[in-house]
């Protein structure tokens, strides 16, 4: 028996639940040298901005225990080059393209949503809310629930109706469940979580932060329990809302954790830095885990940890 790996994210069906995480798969080309990118559920692009961005100065990355601390600053070519070069290439390879967008104002998000809606082939828009809001002194949109909801509402209104809009949420906000609820109320078709956890490492020789940006975003297995808890809490509060889970997925068993916490799909992020074919390996391992356990359909695992007798409520811990 070959397990059925198909999952649904709302109206949208995926061949399998494994995706790349935004910012960890380049333009897709880099990874396509190592595996057939049409075989995974979707390729999530790095966040596309209106204008080209040069990003932060180096050093941009520091290795921490089971983690990667990074401050890249959304370096990218901008929406024009993305639409002319990167998106057509992804589609030509048969990949499902989930396009992450980041703006510094609501207007920029609207412009991005409009341009992506005019282009054929965009499978989904993922709204990166961990982008500085210039109107408010560079605070991230996600740090203010109302600002985040305004962005999501504006993107949902602008984007073509058949393109699902997912909001990507960071874990370190005052009330994640409230933020999730407001994003859904603003029209998000689903949520992707978690973005990186804010962190810092200090180089004791230079007495400076290890990344030039000072603060960085922590990813990797070090944050996995935080990510699983976030998915669990949000799924408990909004069981009907499709979730894409991510944060330190490295193996098929890790992917199962997210599914059981309530995610319908799982993204592989910084594990790709270590193993560029990690997505296919995770998929293969997930399939084997299902076989070993006699699980016929992967979607039967979604939220399974909530249904087990004695499952903890979200108030615990």
């Amino acid at each position: 028996m070959i397990p059925d790996l198909r999952v649904r994210l709302g109206e949208w069906e995926l061949d399998n639940p494994v995706m790349t995480a935004a910012g960890c798969a380049g333009s897709g080309r880099e990874l396509a040298r190592f595996f057939d990118i049409s075989r995974i559920g979707a390729v999530v692009t790095k966040s596309v901005t209106v204008e080209p961005r040069a990003g932060m100065p180096a050093p941009r990355i520091a290795e921490t225990p089971s983690g990667v601390l990074s401050a890249v600053g959304l370096q990218g070519p901008g929406i024009d080059v993305f639409l002319q070069r990167d998106l057509p290439w992804l589609l030509s390879r048969g990949a499902r393209a989930v396009v992450s967008v980041a703006g510094s104002s609501v207007d920029e998000y609207v412009l991005l949503a409009r341009r992506l809606s005019e282009a054929p082939g965009v499978t989904m828009i993922e709204v990166n809310l961990s982008s500085p809001d210039l109107a408010r002194g560079g605070r991230h949109f996600a740090e203010d629930t109302a600002a985040a909801a305004r962005v999501v509402a504006a993107v949902r209104e602008t984007a073509r109706a058949d393109i699902p809009v997912f909001a990507k949420l960071p874990p370190d906000v005052a009330d994640l469940v409230e933020l999730a609820g407001e994003c859904v109320a603003a029209g998000a078709d689903g949520l992707a979580m978690i973005n990186t956890v804010r962190g810092m490492a200090i180089d004791v020789d230079t007495r400076r932060p290890a990344v030039a940006g000072g603060m960085g975003g922590l990813s990797g297995p070090a944050i996995r329990p935080i990510a699983v808890a976030c998915v669990y809490r949000v799924h408990a509060a909004f069981p009907e809302v499709p979730l894409i889970g991510m944060g330190g997925v490295r193996t098929g068993a890790d992917a199962m954790e997210f599914l059981m916490a309530g995610a319908s799909a799982v993204a592989v992020g910084s594990a790709l830095f270590h193993d560029p074919s990690a997505c296919l390996r995770v998929l293969r391992e997930l399939e084997q885990e299902l076989l070993d356990r006699g699980v016929e359909r992967v979607d039967s695992l979604i939220g399974a940890a909530h249904r087990t007798a004695g499952a903890p409520g979200t108030a615990v811990g």
Binding site: P52, M56, P57
Partner: protein, 294 residues
């Protein structure tokens, strides 16, 4: 050609001057290799807590056992300490060959190869490739002290001349490689310079080559995390053919660049006029330039 990822058995671990040298059996990498390219090695085993790879220039490729690859390193942290403990028949997760190789001249011209410390490693396969094309090869090798000058004896065997400098004068001329480079260029009538080493050395070598009006290819030693182009951490400001500065990834756009294209003084910063930096549009024609950026 596409890089490959493989589990490669360690063939030998040895000491070369002050460096550790590991040879792995990696036929797919050996057959694709061109000089200047590097490998990305996972450290710490299958469940390692060290998520970034360690990059090493390929120092030697041999046809034994279907193809072997040798790389050199010094112990600088936990990752390289783990590597130094590997023994014959251990397996290493290796990706390669990666990066833009040294371009080779069509004609049999005179080439001077300048290396600082372990930066000399990729120059040895380059020297062999140039010799096969009938080029004259002269080496200039430098290091802090005698034991850090890499394979001076091998260099003498391959090349027409090998000039050595050390900071402390313990071997060869006391001083830096760029102090003796003009004399070598004069004596060898060099047509091309190839250089690999720390950024200040590359800057000086580029200045020398520019004074002589001869082309220079440099291989940068930027810290990298993935080696495959996805993490965006190894960026340096490089001027493109269109005159626009971009934050180029040393791993996929390099590590070999034309020397005069690298903005050495701005390494570690994002220049104000770089593509996508606050001042880049001030150079004019912003919209069109966006399209050229591909």
């Amino acid at each position: 050609m596409r890089p490959v990822q493989m589990s490669s058995p360690v063939l030998t671990v040895r000491q070369v001057d002050a460096y550790h040298a590991i040879t792995v059996v990696a036929p797919g990498i050996a057959e694709r290799f061109r000089s200047g390219q590097f490998i990305a090695v996972a450290v710490g085993g299958e469940h390692s807590s060290m998520l970034t790879r360690r990059m090493f220039a390929i120092h030697e490729v041999k046809p034994d056992y279907g193809g072997t690859v040798e790389f050199l390193f010094t112990v600088r942290g936990r990752g390289t300490a783990w590597l130094a403990e590997r023994r014959s028949r251990d397996l290493l997760d290796v990706i390669g060959p990666l990066g833009r190789p040294f371009p080779l001249p069509r004609d049999p011209v005179n080439c001077v190869l300048v290396g600082g410390g372990s930066g000399s490693a990729p120059l040895f396969p380059l020297a062999h490739a140039l010799r096969r094309r009938g080029c004259r090869v002269d080496f200039v090798l430098g290091g802090a002290t005698a034991s850090r000058v890499f394979s001076a004896i091998t260099a003498r065997r391959i090349a027409e001349t090998a000039t050595v400098t050390t900071d402390d004068g313990s071997l060869g001329t006391k001083g830096r490689v760029t102090d003796v480079l003009p004399r070598v260029i004069d004596e060898a009538c060099s047509d091309v310079v190839y250089a690999c080493g720390p950024m200040p050395m590359l800057r000086e070598a580029t200045a020398v080559a520019m004074r002589y009006g001869i082309p220079i290819q440099v291989s940068v030693e930027e810290t990298m995390a993935c080696g495959t182009g996805i993490c965006m951490s190894c960026v340096i400001p490089v001027v493109g053919e269109d005159g626009i500065t971009r934050m180029a990834r040393a791993c996929v756009d390099g590590p070999v660049f034309r020397g005069e294209r690298v903005r050495y003084d701005d390494v570690g910063t994002v220049p104000f006029d770089a593509l996508g930096a606050p001042g880049w549009k001030a150079r004019g024609g912003g919209e069109d330039r966006t399209r050229e950026a591909g």
